[in-house]
Amino acid sequence: MVEYSRDQLSQVLAAVADPTRRAIVATLARGPATISEIAKPFPVSFNAVSKHMMVLERAGLVERKVSGRERVCRLRPRGLRRANAWLEQYRQFWEDRLDALENYVASKAKERRDLNAKSK
């Protein structure tokens, strides 16, 4: 189910522990961008953003591709997905409900069988 190792998870957690990096992830969610584009709204230097980007890259959340003279950064949906506890919460939500549903329908089915047996 959850396909990341403990190491990867702690890398991801460490990566998003920083508010600037979380904001970078949110920026890239709107589409790929170069480091200078990403750096613009932040009160930190190009180099600082570049360092943040390396942390995100190591955690598998972001990838950089050379495009002409610039390097374009984009989110790695797979990385995001694999590290996404949020979706797993939904799976768990339905699994828990299905456990309860299973018990409920089993008792309902039994009621039906008993009723049928009586009427025969």
Binding site: R22, P77, W86, R97, L98, A109
Partner: protein, 150 residues
């Protein structure tokens, strides 16, 4: 960028004919019973099961109250239900429930779709932020033990 979205799919064999399982999904009595496992102490369900009809489920835990609402898009007794799923804490998604006939038993397939990457990323910013903050606090505490007190 193509419109990527994520899906959660779950299949489960049910020890009852599909009519019984379908009824458990489409009556207030059924929903109230099985929608509240775990720490949910009470659940209220109001539903109008027909195409375009809406539902509202209020789940209470000792500390929180979750409200789920949605609109039925497809109602095909006893085989299929499609409804939107909107919660107070997440963007609207869609749930498809298929009830497969296996005689005295049945199988249920839940497909919860429409988690878009930007939405996930947004959640990521807030939801993961909270987790990451806890993690950072944990790290600080544990590493802090080896450091001189200020």
């Amino acid at each position: 960028m193509p419109n990527q979205s994520e899906t959660v799919r779950i299949r489960r064999r049910m020890p009852a004919p599909r009519e019984v399982v379908y009824e458990a999904w489409t009556t207030g009595e059924g929903l109230r019973y099985w929608m509240c496992p775990g720490d949910v102490i009470s659940a209220e369900a109001t539903l109008d099961v027909r195409g375009g009809g809406s539902f509202r489920i209020v789940m209470k835990t000792p500390t929180e109250e979750h409200v789920q609402t949605g609109i039925y898009e497809v109602v095909e007794p006893p085989a299929k239900l499609v409804f939107t799923w909107t919660g107070s804490n997440h963007p609207p998604t869609r749930v498809i429930v298929e009830f497969l006939d296996l005689g005295d038993e049945s199988e249920i397939v839940i497909t919860h779709e429409g988690f878009t990457i930007p939405d996930i990323a947004k959640r990521y910013e807030s939801g993961w932020g909270a987790i990451a903050d806890k993690f950072a606090a944990y790290l600080a505490q544990h590493h802090g033990q080896n450091q001189p007190r200020r």
